[in-house]
């Protein structure tokens, strides 16, 4: 039981990392809390489904198109909505939440409800780790997450655009004096965040079926993990995901499954009371309040 719990706790944690990294990256670079993040996750899933089942596209092509499409929608959202309210935090939250709500409820209105809305797994096999069976899809989630984190690290450290992202994140005004266009960078960061949500959707959704309400769950998980880890800190997201993921699985196994859902919210509460900026957060003004 212990080995199985640890294995699935790692998988659970990685799923949380994948779900949260896009949200956290967008905030870290541009300071925008993208509350449409969960909607982008579901949008990518449904677009993939439509391309695969209605238009008969190959699965891999459907995934690639949906990732690009979702990233473009993210960019358009910034360009035509968020740019006008940039800097007004509450307006950004309300605008993105409204857009997210509209996207999710539009799918519900169109009748995208039912068991037929599901994505196939990439490889339908199970493997033994010790005495625990783990399906290949979950192993792929772990592998893709590792690859994604490495690629992101390389991107922000060794590409000019990635360095521009870091520059804007560190000090926007100084970055502006170096000729970095903050609106362009913000557009790209929101777009990248949306694209990461799409990547997360295409590897995680095949574990079950596509459900509109998952969009809200993804947003809550991403928000909780990002706040616990520290908004803007990728390392914080990874550590927080591991903490929450392990806590959830061990609670499920040794205490009771009905307590699992409150674990992340309880962790959030504790962090907000003790260290409001999160484990690796740098928002000093939050620290000074306690």
């Amino acid at each position: 039981m212990l080995l199985g719990t640890i294995v699935y706790a790692i998988i659970n944690s990685v799923i949380l990392i994948l779900m949260s990294i896009g949200f956290n990256l967008t905030f870290g670079i541009s300071g925008i809390s993208n509350f449409a993040y969960g909607a982008f996750y579901i949008l990518a899933a449904f677009v993939t489904w439509m391309l695969l089942n209605l238009l008969g596209f190959p699965y891999v092509l459907s995934i690639l198109i949906s990732i690009v499409f979702t990233a473009v929608i993210g960019a358009l959202m910034y360009r035509f909505v968020l740019m006008r309210v940039r800097g007004q935090v509450l307006s950004e939250v309300i605008a993105t939440f409204g857009i997210g709500l509209a996207i999710l409820e539009f799918f519900r209105y169109l009748g995208f409800v039912g068991v037929e809305y599901a994505l196939p797994v990439f490889i339908d096999e199970s493997f033994m780790i010790g005495n625990v069976y783990v399906d290949m899809q979950r192993i792929l989630i772990v592998l893709s997450s590792i690859v994604l984190v490495i690629l992101l690290w390389l991107f922000v450290h060794y590409t000019s655009l990635g360095l521009a992202f870091r520059g804007i994140a560190q000090d926007e005004r100084t970055a502006l004096t170096f000729g970095m266009d903050s609106d362009r960078i913000a557009t790209l960061s929101v777009s990248l965040g949306a694209g990461l949500a799409a990547i997360a959707a295409t590897v995680i959704i095949p574990l079950g079926t596509i459900s509109v309400s998952q969009g809200y769950d993804v947003l809550i998980n991403a928000l909780a993990v990002s706040i616990i880890g520290g908004l803007g800190s990728t390392g914080g997201v990874i550590v927080a995901s591991l903490l929450v993921g392990f806590a959830q699985r061990f609670t499920d196994t040794y205490i009771g499954s009905h307590w699992t859902m409150i674990v992340s919210l309880l962790a959030l509460l504790i962090v907000l009371v003790i260290k409001p900026s999160g484990l690796y957060g740098k928002q000093k003004e939050l620290e000074e309040r306690i």
């Binding site: 039981m1 199985g4 719990t5 699935y8 659970n12 519900r108 009748g111 409800v113 039912g114 068991v115 037929e116 599901a118 196939p120 797994v121 339908d124 199970s126 625990v132 069976y133 783990v134 399906d135 899809q137 574990l207 079950g208 079926t209 459900s211 509109v212 309400s213 998952q214 809200y216 769950d217 959830q248 699985r249 499920d252 196994t253 009771g256 499954s257 009905h258 699992t260 859902m261």
Partner: protein
């Protein structure tokens, strides 16, 4: 000249009166059927679809005879979202009240998903005197309220089965499994909502403990949970021979996939909403052979050749909407509820709610679920023979992607088979 002016004036007055709104309204006043339910979930979505299908058929045949005139039905729906996780009950009640006040329905169909919402809505229905033929929420507590205060809560009926009847069907299934295969170790996994808790607890107290089964574990999951690995590992390590799942949330599809991928050597027998309809075969990559599922009513995504109306109903649905029905709870009784309402209106000759309620209580019709009558708790009576009562339908997926009816015996086409890889205990 004076006569001419007089004549023209009379013609103009008549023309005004005949084309004025109140005259137009009186001539074509439809009977409004309200449908307040969670239309964003498959049971609500397909339930609303069958209401529209039944209404279209009734209207095409001339409508409903109310006294001496024929009137058409008209459907007004509202998504009360009570099935979504985190939606508070007062939000759902606001939706019901809004529908009643704005659309003034003669009756409501389907109703809330969550029993908590239904129990709270009963007072609203009493306040506005609007009959409800509920077809989703399953708590027996509503019947208790009706029996305790029949005059106050007489407006509430339930056409679908309740948790008590569901327990009876599951007991029948488990008894067969025990007798045929010698299985007596069960792991129960259920959703943390009233109907599922009541069903799970009912199974433990009324059957498993008395029949000598060992309940090796029981887990409840909040709506929205999507990882069942811990329970499945516990089921395997404790030697469970049967897993009894009780879920209506869409995320429970993950349980089916995990059951297969983790190769848990136990028979899956219970109710998982995503397994109910024919689409499950493709959704779960054709790997659900052997799973046993109880659709709550015959006609809800499952039919029996022994009840021809159920077959005709599903064919008509697929023809009208272009795809098969997937919801294993709700559409069958919802379809019947439209006709129950129609017949009650015609017998009463009026839309007066108290008269309607009295006539609904006298219902005795045979339809897609079998024979429908209400008991003194305003609950449709369910049994084992469709000639005597309404029936649910337990079926098993075979390896060819077919759903084979296995219980009750009156509509069974075969017996439960053990899937490949599982051995009988005797």
């Amino acid at each position: 000249m004076k006569k001419c002016i007089c004549f023209l004036s009379v013609v103009l007055v008549f023309a005004f009166v005949l084309t004025s709104p109140f005259m137009t309204a009186y001539a074509a006043d439809p009977i409004v059927i309200g449908v307040p339910t969670s239309t964003g979930f498959v049971e609500g979505k397909e339930g609303l679809a069958v209401v529209e299908m039944a209404v279209a058929d009734i209207n095409a045949a001339g409508g409903v005879k109310v006294g001496s005139e024929n009137r058409m039905f008209k459907v007004e729906s509202i998504d009360i979202r009570d099935a979504a996780p985190g939606v508070p009950v007062p939000e759902a009640l606001m939706g019901i009240e809004k529908l009643i006040l704005e659309k003034k329905p003669a009756a409501l169909l389907i109703g809330p998903f969550r029993s908590e919402a239904l129990l709270a809505a009963m007072d609203i229905l009493t306040k506005y005197k609007v009959p409800l033929l509920g077809t989703i929420a399953m708590t027996p507590a509503s019947e208790g309220k009706i029996k305790k205060e029949p005059d106050k809560y007489k407006y509430v009926f339930r056409t679908c089965l309740n948790a008590v009847y569901l327990v009876k069907y599951l007991v029948g299934t488990m008894s067969f499994i025990n007798k045929e295969f010698g299985f007596n170790k069960v792991y129960i996994m259920h959703q943390d909502v009233a109907w599922a808790r009541a069903t799970a607890d009912g199974m433990v107290k009324r059957y498993f403990e008395k029949a000598g089964w060992t309940v090796v574990g029981q887990e409840s999951y909040p709506t929205g949970a999507s990882d069942f690995s811990s329970a499945l590992m516990k089921a395997r390590s404790s030697g469970a021979q049967v897993i009894l799942p009780i879920f209506d949330m869409p995320q429970s599809g993950t349980l089916v996939k995990q059951w297969k991928s983790m190769k848990v050597p136990a028979l899956l027998a219970g109710f998982i909403s995503p397994l109910a309809g024919p689409g499950a075969w493709k959704t779960f990559d054709k790997k659900i052979g052997g799973a046993v599922n109880c659709n709550f009513e015959l006609g809800s995504a499952i039919a029996s050749a022994k009840v021809p109306q159920s077959v005709e109903f599903l064919k008509a649905y697929e023809k009208k909407f272009g795809k098969p029905m997937e919801a294993g709870h709700g559409p069958g009784p919802t379809y019947e509820s439209v006709y129950i309402l129609k017949e009650a209106i015609e017998r009463a000759g009026t839309l007066d709610p108290d008269s309607l309620v009295a006539e609904i209580q006298k219902t005795d019709r045979t339809g897609v679920m079998g024979r429908i009558k209400f008991d003194d708790g305003h609950q449709a009576v369910f049994g084992m023979d469709p000639k005597e009562a309404a029936v649910a339908c337990v079926f098993q997926w075979n390896d060819k992607g077919e759903r084979v009816n296995v219980f009750p015996e009156a509509i069974a086409d075969a017996q439960i088979q053990l899937p490949a890889g599982l051995k009988a205990a005797k």
